[in-house]
């Protein structure tokens, strides 16, 4: 152990560079002695930053620095974990920054992507059960659980006239998988195309139980729960399994998780009975998931067509609803 007296810097920033050449600014932060957190651009909800994250991951995959153990994306960041016996922290940051500076303007880039279509049953029995159970055992007076569902709350929070308007907005949106994480196989989806500018506060406190396959929204982000788990997103329906380590359906044969960062998701309307039948077919390997390769040319998505800045992309100027149910 070294003695006391080693100077400790007052900040956690290892290196930084301003935006240049169509690339966002970048900040390299120390995250303990085995990881570096790389953040791109200003702290704003801007999918262009996520596009940059995904292409940096792709560049890292093609040209990994020695000693890299893991690279995990966030919305506008990448966490890199490394083996200090195989690389120096400074060498890792240098390697990353070289890759960063090599990236051309986003508008000329095509990202690997797939279109995944999932049937969705709104206001189904399982998610209603989760809401009712929460109200009964955790917080009876929460405004988001009135009527035994979260749907009316989501609609009201977004100034929508009713449930149908909410359902239409969700179905008409193409959802972008910005990253997966939090729990194994959990996708975080943001509106890529379409009218949706939904956002809603999260549960407060957290819900203890969520059914597998539940679909919910927290802030502007939609998530699909890959397994029974706690959760804090407002639930609006249920879809097919998005994870199965036992690969009971062939779609999970090579990868136990359906969705990966860069996939686009479309929900199609489905009744609850039909959904339960499809879920049964998934487990018996009779159902074929609807997935098509469809690389995404970014040119159409980097000129104001995606949420930029801190307001709603609908241009209304109102803020995203962050935080939790008061």
């Amino acid at each position: 152990m070294t003695g006391a007296g080693v100077p400790v810097p007052e900040h956690a920033v290892l290196a930084a560079a301003p935006a240049a050449g169509g690339r966002p600014s970048v900040t390299y932060r120390q995250a303990g002695d085995r990881c570096v957190l790389v953040e791109y651009g200003p702290p704003e909800l801007d999918l262009r930053l996520n596009f940059h994250v995904l292409r940096m991951l792709s560049a890292l995959g093609a040209d990994p620095p020695p000693g890299l153990l893991d690279a995990a994306p966030g919305l506008r960041s990448v966490l890199l974990c490394f083996d200090p016996s195989r690389t120096a922290r400074t060498a890792l940051v240098d390697h990353l920054h070289t890759l960063h500076e090599r990236q051309p303007d986003l508008s000329g880039v095509t990202l690997p992507s797939r279109r995944v279509t999932l049937p969705l049953a709104f206001d189904d029995t399982a998610t209603r059960e989760a809401v009712v159970r929460y109200a009964r055992t955790i917080r009876p007076d929460a405004s988001n659980t009135r009527g035994g569902n979260n749907i009316d709350y989501i609609a009201a929070q977004n100034g929508l006239p009713g449930r149908d308007a909410l359902y239409e907005a969700i179905l008409a949106t193409e959802w972008w998988t910005a990253f997966t994480g939090f729990a194994p196989g959990l996708p975080f989806l943001f509106p890529l195309r379409g009218p949706t500018a939904l956002s809603v506060p999260k549960y407060n406190p957290t819900r203890a139980w969520t059914p597998e396959g539940a679909v919910g929204i927290g802030g502007p982000c939609v998530a699909i729960y890959p397994a029974e788990s706690p959760g804090s997103y407002q639930l609006f329906g249920r879809t097919l399994p998005v994870s199965d380590v036992f690969a009971r359906n062939r779609v999970f044969g090579d990868d136990p998780f359906l969705l990966r960062a860069g996939d686009r998701v479309r929900f199609t309307l489905c009744g609850e009975e039909e959904l339960l039948e499809l879920r049964r077919q998934v487990l018996e390997d009779q159902y074929v998931y609807r997935i098509e390769d469809a690389p995404l040319a970014l040119a159409a998505h980097v000129r104001g067509a995606v949420p930029g800045g801190t307001g709603h992309p609908d241009g209304s100027g109102r803020a995203w609803a962050g935080g939790e149910v008061p």
Binding site: E44, V78, F179, G181, G185, G322
Partner: protein
């Protein structure tokens, strides 16, 4: 010839039968399920990697062999074979083998029918690690035998062990009886000091200098609701530099969703939580400090609802030096060799290194 080699045709099946599983006993290996954080997996593996690795070394195993993490003692199991075993970790569990006391941090020999019994650990320390020669031979899932209870994979059917489980063991050659020298054993406390590196969100843009001083000088209580996912501390309003989290939320602890480092100190509202090996891999909260890799093991030994903790800021250079010290202590060559002894491995005196 000797009577003790497992795998002899006349030997019992190499198995370990769980008689009393305790609060939570799980199969773990080290370093666990790595390289999958982008898919939402923290590594799992033992919360106290030091005691786990020491037990494996003492049992003559490779570092990757799986063992048991026994939370808080209150555990009993019956060996159905000859084997070498070692128990490391929490104090005050009065472990016995066939009624004879078993010392921690050294190898003991077991015979078919021997019962290992641990009482509830009085502490200091919270978790015990049992390694058996050959390791627990459950199937690997996604590259590891460690349980991930949320995903329901690894270990025994993706869950903690239950009474009546019979765990298959790997085959192993007879290994010598060893002991980790007293001078290399970690000290367990009721008031812990955790070495942290500032950041990733610890600079003055997030916390004021006053906020950081408070974080590193205050004595925090380890909350009763602490587990393998994380060690929660008591709520305390820190002095933030920002009025709110901007687009990410109304509280200054909010950030746009980001992947977390293992051992990261996230502040969720006013509650700091140190992320353990089964923790969430990402979330929307600042990580103001990160535990030095070399002191991650302490998370496994802090007693929920009882112990207290203080954070001590160190530099990256100091963190690297601490890591080197840990690796030094866990080299096979550091172990003391005991004279051949009875089944409980009664120690012959051995000089410290």
């Amino acid at each position: 010839m000797n009577h003790g080699l497992r795998g002899d045709a006349h030997d019992e099946a190499p198995e370990l039968e769980i008689l009393v599983p305790g609060v939570q006993t799980t199969v773990q290996d080290h370093p666990g399920r790595t390289g999958l954080q982008a898919r939402g997996f923290f590594p799992s593996g033992p919360v106290d990697g030091f005691a786990f690795r020491a037990a494996n070394l003492l049992a003559g195993n490779d570092p990757r062999h799986a063992g048991l993490e026994i939370t808080q003692g209150g555990f009993a199991a019956r060996f159905r074979c000859h084997a070498r075993a070692a128990l490391c970790g929490a104090e005050g569990a009065a472990p016995t083998l066939g009624g004879e006391p078993v010392p921690l941090w050294q190898t003991f020999a077991v015979r078919p029918g021997d019962e290992l019994v641990c009482e509830a650990a009085k502490g200091p320390g919270f978790r015990l690690y049992l390694a058996v020669s050959g390791g627990i031979d459950v199937p690997e899932v996604l590259g590891s035998r460690s349980v991930h209870t949320l995903a329901g994979i690894g270990g025994v059917d993706g869950r903690p062990v239950l009474r009546g489980d019979v765990l298959p063991l790997g085959r192993a050659a007879e290994a010598p009886l060893l002991r980790l020298p007293q001078s290399l054993r970690p000290a367990y406390h009721t008031h812990w000091e955790l070495e942290v590196v500032r950041g990733p969100h610890g600079d003055p843009g997030f916390l004021t200098a006053e906020g950081w001083r408070e974080f590193t000088s205050r004595t925090w209580r380890v909350d009763l609701n602490s587990d393998r996912l994380g060690v929660k501390l008591d709520a305390h309003a820190l002095a933030w530099a920002r009025p709110d989290g901007g687009v990410a939320g109304g509280h200054p602890s909010n950030v746009l969703d980001v992947s977390y480092p293992v051992g990261g100190v996230t502040v969720i509202g006013d509650v700091p939580t140190v992320l353990g090996p089964d923790g969430p891999t990402s979330g929307g909260y600042t990580v103001i400090a990160t535990l030095a890799h070399a002191c991650l093991w302490k998370l496994g030994q802090m007693r929920p609802g009882r112990d207290t903790v203080r954070f001590r800021e160190i530099s990256l250079a100091e963190a690297d030096a601490l890591a080197a010290h840990t690796e030094f202590a866990l080299q096979r060559g550091r172990l003391e060799r005991l004279e051949p002894a009875g089944p409980a491995g009664a120690a012959a005196p051995a000089a410290p290194v």
